[in-house]
């Protein structure tokens, strides 16, 4: 027992490993949000006129909206006039050579364990690293170019491929979609843009590391991925943020579009700073992620491992518009101390013979609360839609909470929809069984939790699976008393 308590102390008192600050002079906008700030951001990024108009339209709509209140948690009101909406490293960095990158920045990435050079050499992953708001290095660009794949920052895409950006940006998540989406549309700083041409199977996993650095900066990323007919792409997104005392808002948008027979696989590992044991500090992760299966037999698959952030509030969704399209959602959400997660998905069946699958695993420890909220909607004309949902929760410690709010709206009688959910604690008998066989309590919990989440972890690409397993172990080992 004493040993177990030690482990609990160790884990619960463990300092956030990735908490450090990089001292680089920042080119920042004044605090607050106004039409001028929107213009400032647009001008800073040297954007075309139509982009500015788009932003202003979003900003005007945002002004008319109210912050949502239906969520299953409370957070102090965000003062939008106290946020810096734009911050960019002052030194201009040329994108084609890593050697020219500020050594301070490279050090930061090294501490995070994503040394660009290493990755380039060993793993063959092209990394579009986002440091605060501006992409600082993009690797493997030439190799992708050969195949015709466009992988660049959104600001770059705006200039080089305006027709694509114009056509697709906001087509899945309209500027008027929700409060935070409107905010993002008005002030988004940068993000990634991916276009996979017809018939191309992207030769490597595309990946971005996001990182929030400057104090008091909101991060407003935007990702747009378009997979044209018969193409395939797997995209990885991973996040770490340094330790801060004040809450930081992260309101990103991710839009995916899959055309006929195309497949997009989007994986996230999120371990942003969750705040300290008393819930002070930490990131507010309020993200709108949505994929559109526009074409026949298209497929979009979301996989997420959420271990960080003070509040995680997002619902990666699929609109299954094309006939025979498939949507998938695999999620592991771990909360500890006073963290909150309100996450899940929406599967909107519009086309005929569409299928969706949801697997959600929630683990809550300490005084945290973990909510699954999901919508499965079958429209009137969506014949023979099929959905299977499974959401399991695991509770560790008697002050944690697990909640499930599935919404199932069926308007077609040929639909077949199943939902199942269960909640349980880590069994004392399971731990005892392991102990008996010489496996320590700490390791046993690791085993049980990893087993509990296996279905989801198996969906992750190799590189991420390893990191995710480590993260799970770090955040939960020994939390059973």
């Amino acid at each position: 027992m004493a040993e177990e308590l030690d482990i609990i102390d160790q884990v619960t008192q463990q300092e956030y490993k990735y908490g450090f600050t990089t001292n680089i002079e920042m080119d920042t906008a004044p605090k607050g949000l106004s039409e001028d700030i929107v213009r400032f951001i647009s001008a800073k990024k040297n954007e075309p006129e139509w982009m500015l108009e788009w932003r202003l339209k979003a900003y005007k709509h945002w002004l008319t909206m109210d912050e949502p209140e239906w969520q299953n948690f409370k957070y102090p009101k965000i003062n939008y006039q106290d946020i810096i909406f734009y911050a960019a490293p002052k030194e201009k960095i040329k994108l084609n050579s890593l050697n020219e990158v500020d050594p301070e920045l490279l050090k930061t990435f090294e501490k995070l364990g994503i040394s660009l050079t290493e990755q380039k050499r060993l793993t063959g992953v092209a990394v579009d690293a986002v440091f605060d708001s501006v992409s600082i290095a993009t690797t493997f660009k030439d190799q992708l170019k050969e195949k015709g794949v466009i992988f660049c920052s959104i600001s770059e895409a705006m200039h080089e491929h305006p027709e694509l950006v114009k056509k697709y940006m906001g087509s899945v998540v309209p500027t008027t979609d929700n409060y935070f989406a409107a905010l993002n549309s008005a002030v988004f700083s940068d993000g990634s843009f991916v276009y996979i041409p017809k018939g191309v199977r992207c030769p490597m996993e595309l990946s971005t590391y996001f990182r929030i650095n400057a104090e008091n900066t909101g991060q407003f990323e935007r990702t747009l991925i378009i997979a044209d007919d018969d193409s395939y792409v797997s995209y990885l997104e991973g996040c770490t943020a340094p330790m801060r005392d004040e809450h930081q808002l992260h309101a990103a948008i991710v839009e995916l579009i899959a055309h006929d027979n195309a497949e997009i696989k989007y994986s996230t590992v999120q371990n942003w700073y969750p705040g300290d044991k008393e819930g002070k500090g930490g990131i507010y992760n309020f993200v709108t992620k949505r994929g559109m299966c526009a074409g026949v037999k298209s497929k979009i698959s979301w996989t997420q491992v959420e271990t960080g952030s003070a509040i995680t509030w997002k619902y990666p969704s699929c609109i299954l518009k094309g006939d025979y399209s498939v949507g998938e959602f695999f999620s592991v959400a771990v909360t500890n101390n006073r963290q909150v997660a309100d996450t899940g998905t929406k599967m909107i069946h519009i086309g005929k013979n569409t299928r969706s699958r949801i697997v959600s695993k929630g683990i809550s420890a300490g005084k945290s609360h973990n909510t699954y909220r999901g919508l499965v909607k079958v429209n009137k004309k969506a014949e023979k839609a099929r959905n299977h949902t499974q959401c399991d929760s695991m509770l560790i410690g008697d002050r944690s909470g697990a909640h499930t709010f599935p919404y199932i709206e069926i308007n077609n009688h040929t639909a077949q929809v199943e939902h199942e959910a269960s909640t349980s604690k880590i069994g004392e008998d399971q731990i005892f069984y392991c102990n008996q066989r010489g496996i320590g309590t700490e390791e046993a919990i690791g085993l049980i939790v990893n087993g509990f989440c296996r279905e989801v972890l198996n969906q992750l690409p190799m590189e991420f699976a390893v990191e995710a397993q480590k993260l799970l172990a770090v955040s939960l080992e020994g939390s059973v008393g």
Binding site: L395, E409, T423, S424
Partner: protein
């Protein structure tokens, strides 16, 4: 005139008689709450799928109308064939001549609220308004403000009521639109036991809005079977709020059968305030035409070592819609809770729809909770099996649907009634 003005007018009638009515303070208090809360709108998360708007333009009469053909209506009901204690309410007011109490033990009180208020004041005041919330539920407040009459059942300690008690509500809308507010209070003391059937039938083509509140208190080691039969025809709207409050070691078996009604909204709320409680909730809803049935259930596990099991089944036909919203709430420290919840639906037509929301909210860690929801059609293999044995398709379908529905009807522990209800279900199908 709108429904709201209607209600104000009705309340003013009570106001005029205020000095003769010791109960008026309670009414006034509730009415103030109602004025503040108003009718729930679809903006309210709990009313997301049920819109009360169509009600607001109907001109209702809260006046008690004497019905001419109640007797005929009653004799046609399956409930008339079983041996039971009967309390009959017509448009919310008590009809003594049609009621019949066969219970011989005089310590068991089976009467109407209006007379209990005077004769059994102590018990009445101890329990009335203690379980159903008026501060947050607008429709409960409305019921309390305007309540007409209802059943009052008090079973003292160690008594068993031999025959079922039938609370028969007849809504007669043959002459005008009817608005009524029945209110029932059921108290089962320690180690006592009873079976109560709450039934709603209606007559006539005018509109009716029945806003019911049931308060049920079950003391330690007691048992209650509570069956609700909703078979209102015509343009009938019903909001039925039932609050069951359980002390330790009690068992409640609750069955809700909704076979008809233009719009039916049931709020069923169990609160387990002691250890080792059992709560069983079963429901069947069969909807047709453009009808709408909404079942909201909530089970509060406030103490450790309790068990709850819930199964709701639905069959939707024509252009009907159904809603199921089940919430299991496991409070902090309610360890060793076992809670199960299932909702199964069959959609029979292109235009029928179902919205289901099975929810779990868990604040304790040592629990076993599961919930599940399915929506589908009849199993093709089962159909094929029957047809390959020479059963025509239509018959095979009915057979499967009946089997699906009867699972719920069989939870009613009055065998002679089950058979009759099963007939009614197959007619409906």
């Amino acid at each position: 005139m709108s429904l709201l003005e209607n209600i104000k007018q009705d309340f003013n009638q009570y106001k005029e008689q205020a000095e003769h009515d010791a109960f008026f303070e309670t009414r006034k208090h509730a009415f103030d709450a109602f004025e503040k809360l108003g009718f729930p709108t679809i903006k309210n998360e709990e009313w997301k799928y049920t819109n009360l708007k169509p009600l607001s333009d109907i001109l209702f009469h809260n006046t008690c109308v004497k019905s001419i053909n109640t007797e005929a209506l009653l004799s046609g009901s399956v409930l008339n064939t079983i041996t039971a204690n009967r309390l009959v309410f017509v448009n919310g007011s008590f009809n003594e001549s049609l009621s019949n109490i066969i219970e011989k033990d005089k310590s068991i009180i089976i009467t109407n609220i209006a007379s209990a208020r005077k004769k059994h004041q102590v018990i009445f005041e101890k329990h009335f308004g203690k379980y159903a919330k008026t501060e947050t539920e607008g429709l409960n407040a409305l019921n309390t403000a305007l309540m007409s009459d209802g059943a009052f059942i008090h079973v003292p300690s160690n008594k068993i009521v031999e025959h079922p008690i039938v609370i028969m509500n007849v809504i007669d809308a043959s002459e005008m639109n009817v608005l009524c507010q029945p209110r029932n209070l059921i108290i089962i003391e320690k180690q006592a036991s009873a079976k109560v059937i709450e039934s709603y039938i209606s007559n006539g083509n005018n509109a009716s809005f029945t806003n019911v509140v049931n308060e049920i208190f079950v003391d330690e080691h007691a048992q209650l079977h509570h069956y609700k039969l909703q078979r209102q025809t015509g343009e009938s709207y019903q909001n039925n709020y039932t609050q069951l409050y359980q002390e330790a070691n009690t068992t409640i078996n609750q069955v809700t059968l909704t076979l008809d009604g233009t719009m039916v909204r049931n709020n069923l709320h169990f609160y387990m305030n002691g250890e080792n409680c059992n709560s069983l909730l079963y429901g069947l809803y069969i909807t047709s035409q453009k009808n709408h049935v909404d079942n909201h259930t909530r089970v509060d596990h406030a103490k450790p070592n309790c068990f709850s099991n819930e199964l709701y089944k639905g069959i939707m036909k024509d252009k009907s819609t159904a809603v199921f919203n089940g919430k299991i709430m496991v409070h902090l420290d309610a360890q060793k809770t076992n809670a199960y919840q299932r909702n199964q639906n069959i959609l029979l037509s292109d235009e029928a729809s179902i919205n289901t929301k099975p929810q779990l909210e868990i604040f304790a860690d040592d629990v076993k909770c599961t919930h599940g929801a399915t929506i589908g059609q009849l199993n093709d293999e089962q159909l094929f099996y029957l047809r390959s044995r020479g059963i025509p398709e239509h018959e095979a379908r009915t057979m499967l649907l009946n089997a699906f529905a009867d699972e719920i009807a069989e939870m009613i522990k009055i065998p002679e009634l089950v058979a009759l209800l099963e007939d009614e279900i197959s007619n409906k199908l």
